[in-house]
């Protein structure tokens, strides 16, 4: 069943899909991967509003390395990952060491994502500022360049991103199966008690933050290479960070496919709003996001998939009891 659904998803683009639906599908999987990355830590009580920073680092570092130094993304991506790890540790260590949790943690990370956006804008001579930047094309005479990680075929991108998405789900499962999972749950519920039973709170939190940040950074790399255009608003800053939080909550961050469902939902919502209202009301999608975030938190705190799973289990349980 699981594999059949996966095979169907993998085969879908081969069944003669138009360019636009394929693009939408790729974006769903890409954002599904990014939201999954966010939820790896978000579901354990570490709600970050700063993941735009990690995504921004991923996207901009590869493009800058390629445009200014001629470094292939194969080198740029590791540099971005190292930078992300440093930033994550610099933010994470003091927060976890001094027990900055909950709302305060969210505030610290909120600042992080905005600072990253402002730095990108401020370095406009290198980054193109708020106009964004396009990686120099390597596809002038060929349809693909492995060295530049540029492919004109959307199909290639679909499979690359699908692989990352599957990898993200695999990491989620690995985190779940480790003893650390229960420990992290314990930390999020009673931090002092967790320390008293021997859990190294700071180290465990840092570890999961690193995993989440590095995954998100790779999301930025993929986004930049696939779109061949990055803009500070679309890969960093509060807007994108908020979108990750909203997507994960809407889809359900406590179930493995929840964030992906959230990605499909937010993308369709954004596209739908664009179709209905055009570009007439700029920023309307963000307003609707905010409103729906409130509604979701009040009426469906477990998200779409979380609530659906619960309802399904309840119904099955009811049937079993009746029978």
């Amino acid at each position: 069943m699981k594999y059949a659904a996966l095979a169907l998803l993998a085969a879908a683009p081969l069944l003669g899909m138009g360019n636009y639906p394929l693009h939408l599908l790729i974006m769903c999987v890409l954002w599904g991967y990014v939201y999954t990355s966010w939820s790896v830590m978000g579901r354990l009580g570490m709600v970050s509003f700063g993941h735009g920073a990690f995504m921004g680092i991923g996207a901009y570092v590869v493009v800058m390395a390629w445009n200014h130094y001629g470094l292939s993304p194969w080198i740029g991506a590791p540099i971005a990952l190292v930078l992300t790890a440093i930033v994550a540790l610099l933010i994470g260590y003091p927060c976890f060491r001094f027990k900055i949790v909950g709302h305060y943690f969210a505030l610290v990370t909120l600042a992080l994502s905005e600072v990253t956006r402002l730095i990108i804008v401020a370095l406009r001579d290198q980054t193109g500022g708020s106009l964004g930047v396009t990686p120099n094309t390597a596809l002038a005479e060929t349809s693909y360049s492995l060295g530049a990680l540029q492919f004109s075929s959307k199909l290639v991108w679909f499979y690359v991103i699908l692989a990352f998405w599957l990898g993200g789900l695999w990491i989620w499962k690995k985190v779940d199966e480790s003893m650390g999972r229960l420990a992290l749950e314990a930390i999020s519920q009673e931090e002092d008690a967790a320390a008293s039973i021997g859990i190294n709170v700071t180290r465990l939190k840092l570890r999961v933050t690193l995993i989440s940040a590095l995954m998100t950074c790779m999301g930025g790399v993929l986004y930049a290479q696939y779109q061949a255009y990055v803009n500070p608003e679309t890969v960093s800053g509060i807007g994108i960070s908020l979108q990750m939080v909203f997507g994960a909550i809407a889809g359900g961050m406590f179930v493995r496919l929840g964030p992906t469902v959230g990605a499909v939902f937010t993308l369709l919502l954004a596209e739908g709003l664009r179709l209905w209202f055009g570009n007439l009301y700029h920023g309307l999608d963000l307003t609707v996001y905010g409103l729906m975030l409130v509604l979701f938190i009040i009426y469906m705190p477990k998200g779409i998939l979380g609530a659906a799973t619960q309802a399904w289990e309840k119904r099955r349980g009811g049937v079993a009891r009746a029978a």
Binding site: M179, L182, A183, A193, A194, S196, I197, G198, I199, N200
Partner: protein, 234 residues
Amino acid sequence: MLTLENVSAGYGSFQVLFGVSLEVKAGESVAVIGPNGAGKTTLLRVISKLIDATAGEIRMEGRSLNAVPAHEVIGLGIAQVPENRRLFPRLSIEDNLKMGAYLPAARARFAERLEMVFALFPRMKERHAQLAGTLSGGEQQMCAIGRALMSGPKLLLLDEPSAGLAPVVVQAIFEVVRKMSAEGYTVLIVEQNVRQVLKVVNRAYLLETGRIKSSGSAAELLNSSEIRKAYLGI
């Protein structure tokens, strides 16, 4: 086993403990009694390293705890039952107990100790799959004690186990404490319920405004006129 020498501690510029010295010998059960705000909970927090001592020294079996971080205290054999239980409310009883055996050494003996805890608290076995947050106060206290026992501690710290419980439940909890010290556990218990706790421990210290005011065997303190007047109302 555990020695405190002139330990001072507090929160920021607010000092709570002023040169507290006390000792718990192996196999003994010792109570620290005193009124609200005397610094009893702070005393346990400083032993379990959730806060640092500003002066003085804490030693466990001769080893100084001063440079030990909070998560390594349990590895030295000190397990804490914190004030207000501090269970993991959205984990089941069994998972709470499992977390008590988090350290690799304890994990290896998980099954055996689980049996022991279930034997001590049959109610925990009945409800092993229930979320800890949904238990009654007394059951939560049992679960918290069970969680601490899962690590196989040498020394058990109990912080106000009777707080917020019905009198009949309080008696049951103290019965457990008595049973544990009879079985050879070393126990340091902090309590306001002076009359009850003095019935189950060997020795006690009286802590007032962050200073040890007097100490002695449980019987001595029960009979001292100072304690009788101030705490027992006789």
